[in-house]
């Protein structure tokens, strides 16, 4: 054990002293301080969030670093305190402890803090159940089950100040105190009870405890008593000392990197990197301090980020990032040697470095200058521009002004080698050595020097057709061709002394080929001054320049490894990946100062592992074997969102009210190492279809973005060509104005339709109402009209009735007059006869002959009067409906015969000889069902009238026909006839024809035809007359054969 301790101390001591022999390597750190935006120069802790942002806790605020800028958070941002004492990253967010006893939680968006204010928070840890435990220095522990819950206080069973702790299992923890390490356990009564005071660790201040990810041990760091490791198996533990106090002055913080190395921060001696062997024994200690560019040795914290960068939190000096060890510089003691390196040649035994002043022989491993050669006695105002080893025997040395020199390794002598007269021939740009030949590129052509024959063959414009005499660079490819780059646009190669020219560009463009290199695939690369790089393929020539991402179009040297072509410029280096020509630039990210100027073709390669590039600031070296595999894709984030110039809170989905907006989206790819090498592509779907070209720009403006749904998608590729895993996207919704919304349009349409429908309905309803009203009005009017019509009708009717009444009255009056006239005449006449003859009969001297005649006249007049009275009675009965019809069998022949007899007698009585009465016998056997009395009365009236109005001629009567159940009778005379206009009148009551000019008075009351007509109609027949005045009349009437009583 004691031997081990001694061995450890020796190892530590050796490595701590070792820098004395190692060449000074400056600028191993990139420093950030308050001037760069850090909240304070005192950095207490460093952690990293899930997005990749670095969180730096200082004494006056919390800084977030995304690779570009520092964003600071203070109490004004709801942070619990400005002084950040400790930090913890969990799956849900970041926890920060404060000097004022508060604890803050950051969920990725905002801070919340929990007020405790008992004592300064010294450490935050997570237990095996994901509970958060917060240790205060002298007021115990607080357990948070989740971030919303109030903490549960656990008191310490011991009095010492607590500085750090770590859970061993669910119930046990190691607690580092002001007086040593304690093994504690949680008790049921909320106590952190001391189980064991681990006495193997000195009774001093324990500042940090970490659990090794590589082994089952805990590392215990004390402030002044060294570094220990402890393995715990239930109640047994084993403590081993790793390093003691003498090594680390005031240790503060411990961190285990991904490779299992320990990084130790100390306030007095900077940072230590402790490498362990496979069996976890300390194998190497490397110290970084002020000498390595750390600016201060007071370091408070150390942290390794996800990309593998080591960050150093300094106490009063800000933070520093360790430049990856692949990049380094070889510098020489400025007081002795020049650091402007113009040529490099690596041989099996040494590095040969040509500077502006001398030739240096440098140890291959230690880079220590073994010897300095003054080539020509004085290189003042001259430079060693080319060096080439010839068969491990000689070193050929080319100078800028004084030609070529040969250094013999064995003797160490340097002698001048004459080439040709002329100053330009003494200006050497490049030398390559073959087995027998040495090729020397000068300002006045290319010289091939045969070492066996000492013959020189020159290739110039005049001698072999070289494109230009100024030969800048020559190389030999795998096909043993000598490639020649001149100040022209033509690249040449020489094979078997044959010169071949290849035009890189047309004649109008002048190129200055400065450098040539061959890559692993045998492709020739050409570097130019002002035109970038050309790649000569079998059938094509490709140009790569600034626009393609090259750091500059001015190239000074080319060199290649298996994967990349390296191009040096003023201010940095471009790496061009051979597989896809992806370009990565190395500047500050590789520790290169912006003022660095690489010299022409000052480059070399050592065993395909280390590349050397000479510059005005020494030799920049890149050790490929130490290259970190930075396969960490950039994490994308939106850094700002400005809408119409106003800063908006970044939201996953942005919803804006209707309108036109100028939207500026700031974005970033979080990469703490090489953020500026990230190239972005974006597309705003809904606005554009194509992705933008890859660019370093970190913001995009969209002007006049109108209503619509958009999705901003961003992807990025980091400097190493690794693309972001998942594109970042967020949606922007600019609401459509109400009138542009589909639903509104549909609703409006529906509303319009409904409105129209409503209008139609209302109009219809209104029309109906109007119609109803009109109908009602119409009805009213109609009723009114009807009423008026009724009135009018009534009036007309009344008028008509009045007219009729008047006519009737007039008729009545006329009838009365006629009646009175007729009656008075018809009655007075027989009565006068009766009175007169009766008077005469009373006379005493009445002749008896006359008496009989008188008596017959009396009788006749009495009969006439009686007949008149009968007619009046009949017409009265007919009008009163009292005329009775008695239906029985009528023997028409008998009736007609009887009538003939009667009327023949009358005619005879009238003594009218020119008048004949004829009974036209026909259908003599006809017997009908009727009233024989009335039939006889009708026929008698007609025959009587015919006799009355016929003075001579004949009177015929009889039956016309018997058919269809009807019997037609007729009475035809040859009398005076009837005027046409009297044919209807004669059938009316008390009417009889009166004709002017009549000399004879025809007696009669005007009732006979009226009675006959009424009786014919009562017996179911019709009566009519056909007559011509002066020629006679033809009366006829019909009767049914069988009279239905109901018809009578």
């Amino acid at each position: 054990m004691k031997q081990n301790k001694i061995l450890i101390k020796l190892i530590v001591l050796f490595f701590l002293v070792n820098p004395v022999f190692v060449f000074s390597q400056e600028n191993e750190f990139i420093n950030f301080n308050v001037d760069d935006g850090l909240a304070q120069a005192y950095v207490y802790n460093i952690t990293q969030d899930a997005k990749g942002n670095l969180w730096i806790g200082t004494g006056n605020g919390l800084s977030k670093y995304d690779g570009y800028t520092f964003q600071n958070f203070t109490e004004q941002d709801s942070l619990g305190g400005n002084f950040i004492t400790c930090a913890l990253k969990t799956d849900k967010g970041l926890w920060f402890g404060h000097l004022n006893g508060r604890v803050s939680f950051y969920d990725g968006i905002s801070f919340n803090y929990y007020i405790n204010e008992t004592s300064s928070i010294v450490d935050i840890e997570q237990d095996f159940e994901a509970n958060i435990w917060i240790a205060s220095q002298n007021k115990g522990f607080i357990k948070f089950k989740n971030k919303t819950e109030k903490g549960e206080l656990y008191q310490n069973s011991f009095q010492n100040h607590v500085f750090t702790f770590k859970f061993i299992d669910e119930n046990s923890l190691l607690v580092g105190t002001s007086e040593g390490l304690k093994l504690c356990q949680l008790t049921k009564n909320n106590e952190i009870a001391e189980k064991n005071d681990i006495s193997e660790i000195p009774n001093g201040k324990v500042v940090d405890i970490i659990r090794s990810e590589k082994s089952d041990r805990f590392y215990i760091l004390t402030e002044n008593d060294g570094l220990f490791q402890i393995t715990i198996d239930s109640d047994n533990y084993k403590v081993d000392e790793i390093a003691d106090n003498n090594d680390f002055s005031r240790a503060q913080n411990l961190f285990e990197d991904k490779e299992g190395n320990l990084w130790l921060a100390s306030l007095g001696n900077g940072v230590f990197k402790l490498k362990f062997s496979n069996n976890r024994e300390l194998a190497e200690v490397k110290r970084y301090g002020e000498n390595n560019g750390l600016l201060t040795n007071a370091v408070k914290s150390v942290f390794e980020d996800q990309e593998g960068n080591i960050w150093i939190g300094k106490y009063g000096g800000g933070i520093s990032r360790l430049i990856p060890s692949a990049n380094s510089f070889i510098n020489f003691d400025e007081e002795k040697y020049s650091n402007s390196i113009h040529s490099i040649c690596i041989t099996e035994k040494a590095k040969w470095i040509g500077t502006g002043q001398e030739l240096l022989k440098v140890d291959l491993k230690s880079n220590k200058v073994l010897h300095s050669y003054d080539v020509n006695g004085s290189l003042e105002n001259d430079k060693i521009t080319a060096i080439a080893d010839w068969n491990n025997t000689e070193l050929w040395i080319g100078t800028e002004k004084s030609g070529v020199y040969r250094l013999n390794y064995k003797t160490g002598n340097i002698k001048s080698q004459f080439l040709r007269l002329g100053n330009l021939e003494k200006s050497i740009n490049s030398i390559i050595a073959e087995n027998q030949n040495v090729w020397i590129a000068t300002q006045k052509g290319l010289c091939k020097y045969n070492l066996e024959t000492n013959k020189k063959k020159w290739f110039t414009m005049q001698e072999e057709g070289l494109p230009h005499n100024s030969v800048n660079h020559i190389i030999k490819d795998h096909e043993k061709r000598i490639w020649v780059g001149t100040l022209s646009n033509t690249l040449s190669y020489i094979q078997d002394d044959e010169l071949t020219n290849i035009n890189l560009a047309n004649r109008n463009s002048l190129l200055n080929i400065t450098s040539i290199a061959e890559d692993k695939d045998g492709l020739i690369w050409v570097g130019t001054q002002g035109n970038g790089v050309y790649v000569i393929n079998k059938d094509s020539i490709m140009n790569i320049n600034y626009q393609n991402g090259l750091l500059s179009d001015y190239c000074y040297s080319l060199n290649s490894d298996k994967e990349r072509m390296w191009v040096t410029h003023r201010g940095g280096v471009s790496q061009i990946r051979l597989s896809d020509y992806h370009i990565k630039t190395l500047q500050k990210n590789a520790g290169l100062h912006s003022s660095i100027e690489f010299n022409k073709n000052s480059t070399a390669k050592e065993k395909d592992k280390i590349l050397y590039f000479g510059s005005n600031q020494g030799i920049y070296t890149y050790d490929i074997s130490k290259e970190l595999n930075r396969a960490v894709p950039p994490t994308l984030d939106i850094s700002s969102l400005r809408i119409n110039g106003d800063e908006y809170h970044i939201n996953k989905n942005l919803v804006l009210p209707p309108g036109y907006y100028k939207i500026q989206i700031g974005y970033k790819g979080i990469n703490l190492n090489e953020p500026k090498l990230i190239k972005y592509q974006y597309v705003l779907k809904g606005y554009e279809n194509d992705w933008s070209a890859p660019d370093n720009k970190r913001s995009v403006d969209y002007k006049q973005l109108g209503s619509g749904d958009y999705e901003f998608i961003l992807k990025a590729v980091n400097g190493n060509g690794i693309e972001s895993i998942q594109p970042l996207s967020f949606k922007i919704k600019i609401k459509y104005p109400l009138w542009q919304k589909t639903w509104f349009q549909l609703l409006s349409l529906a509303g319009l339709i409904f409105g129209v429908y409503l209008i139609v309905i209302l109009r219809e309803k209104n029309l109906r109402r109007i119609q109803r009203k009109l109908i009602q009005n119409l009805d009213d009017k109609t009723r009114e009209v009807i009423a008026k019509e009724e009135v009018i009708k009534e009036r007309k009717r009344t008028e008509k009735e009045l007219i009729q009444a008047k006519e009737k009255a007039e008729e009545s009056d006329r009838l009365k007059t006629a009646f009175l006239s007729n009656m008075s005449h018809e009655i007075r006449t027989p009565l006068n006869a009766i009175v007169g003859f009766s008077t005469m009969l009373q006379e005493p001297n009445v002749n008896p002959n006359s008496k009989g005649r008188y008596m017959s006249i009396l009788k006749s007049n009495t009969n006439d009067l009686l007949c008149l009275i009968d007619d009046i009675m009949d017409i009265s009965s007919i009008e009163a409906g009292q005329l009775k019809i008695k239906i029985q069998d009528c023997n028409l022949h008998e009736i007609l015969t009887e009538l003939y007899t009667v009327h023949a007698k009358k005619i005879s009585e009238l003594k009218t000889e020119d008048l004949a009465l004829n009974y036209i016998e026909k259908h003599t056997d006809l017997i009908i069902q009727s009233d024989p009395l009335r039939v006889k009365q009708i026929l008698s009236n007609l025959i009587g009238n015919a006799i009355k109005f016929t003075e001579n001629g004949s009177i015929d009567f009889g039956i016309v026909y018997h058919k269809d159940g009807m019997v037609k009778f007729f009475v035809k005379d040859t009398g005076i006839g009837i005027l046409e206009n009297q044919k209807e009148v004669i059938f009316e009551r008390f009417r009889k024809e009166f004709r002017d000019g009549w000399k004879k008075l025809y007696r009669g009351a005007g009732l006979g035809l009226a009675i006959s007509k009424s009786m014919v109609e009562l017996l179911g027949g019709e009566i009519g007359v056909e007559s011509v005045a002066g020629e006679g009349s033809y009366f006829y009437f019909t009767l049914p054969v069988i009279l239905n009583p109901e018809n009578g």
Partner: protein, 332 residues
């Protein structure tokens, strides 16, 4: 006449500023106090040797605008060798602890003259035990660097306060030491505008009988009277109180292992000024290695701080002379 007043005032201001400037050394005890050392005895020592509680508390005030690291340098922190009071074999362990942050000063117990309660409040920043160690004998030990922001911000002092507690853990020897508030870890470079104060001054008096030592408590605006306490004076001369209104008021003196309290009224003129307590050694018989404990309280029993750089400068007694103009007639 008024022009003369302006000239006098300017000379006074210039003189005060010049004096203040020359008093910017932040050593404790300050050079002007003419006190050789602070002293803390081991816990096993006797109080009669001049340390009443084996614990001293000092506050270091860093101006608010100071952001550079500060260092608390201790001269001869170990116990042994030169500058220490040996009692038999050196066996004393003395702890120096630096506190800052939360309640470092604002805790009432921290401002007490006795180390009781939460006198060690605050955030422990550094703690070192010293025993006999030749490395730090007659040499400086540096605590720090410290971020000034780790101190407790006290608005009324206009700066951040750190606390250094010196505790005699064990042994019986007297540890004599000095402090310096510095901006440099290797040499004493004053913090511009910095100050150091304590509520109980335990120090070693000079062994030169011609020396006069003085300390400067500050009477704030609420002070009406003060009670000056001295412990274990050992009849070593006189203790006088000077101020702008007091010209050498004598205090009663304590003897071996004895506390003596003296009350003095504070006039309005003395408010917000520093008082001066002078320790004038007896010139007849030299009392060697005399350790004294001094504290001063106001009428509320609150301890008043002794500043290494007196606030407002060293008080100069200014007699209050009433002038009356004679023989002048009023012009009508």
């Amino acid at each position: 006449m008024s022009r003369l007043k302006i000239v006098i005032f300017c000379i006074f201001v210039y003189g005060f500023l010049s004096f203040s400037k020359c008093l910017n050394a932040q050593s404790v005890p300050a050079a002007e106090e003419n006190i050789p050392n602070l002293v803390t005895f081991g816990a096993d020592a006797e109080t009669s040797w001049g340390d009443d509680d084996f614990c001293q508390i000092y506050f270091f005030l860093i101006p608010e605008n100071h952001t550079e690291p500060v260092y608390f340098r201790v001269f001869d922190p170990e116990t042994g060798g030169s500058n220490d009071e040996q009692k038999g074999e050196y066996n004393t362990k003395v702890n120096f602890s630096v506190y800052g942050g939360f309640e470092c000063w604002s805790n009432k117990d921290a401002q007490n003259i006795d180390p009781v309660g939460k006198f060690d409040s605050g955030n422990l920043l550094a703690s070192v035990n010293f025993e006999q160690d030749p490395k730090y004998d007659n040499a400086w030990y540096t605590f720090g660097p410290f971020n000034p922001y780790e101190g407790e911000m006290i608005e009324k002092f206009g700066g951040r306060v750190f606390k250094v507690i010196v505790t005699g853990k064990s042994g019986d020897d007297g540890n004599l030491y000095n402090f310096f508030l510095s901006t440099n870890s290797k040499e004493n470079k004053e913090v511009e505008g910095g100050n150091v104060f304590t509520y109980e001054y335990t120090f070693r008096l000079s062994n030169d009988m011609n020396d006069i030592s003085q300390i400067y408590p500050f009477a704030d605006d609420k002070t009406i009277s003060v009670e000056v306490t001295n412990f274990d004076w050992d009849n070593d001369g006189y203790i006088r109180i000077n101020s702008v209104a007091k010209n050498g008021m004598l205090c009663d003196l304590s003897s071996e292992d004895q506390w003596i309290r003296n009350k003095f009224p504070i006039s309005d003129r003395e408010k917000n000024t520093s008082l001066e307590i002078q320790f004038i050694k007896r010139r007849t018989v030299l009392v060697k290695n005399n350790n004294v404990v001094i504290s001063i309280k106001n009428q509320y029993g609150e301890a008043l701080p002794f500043f290494s750089i007196p606030i407002g400068g060293v008080p100069v007694y200014t007699p209050k002379i009433k002038m009356k103009a004679l023989g002048k007639k009023r012009k009508n």
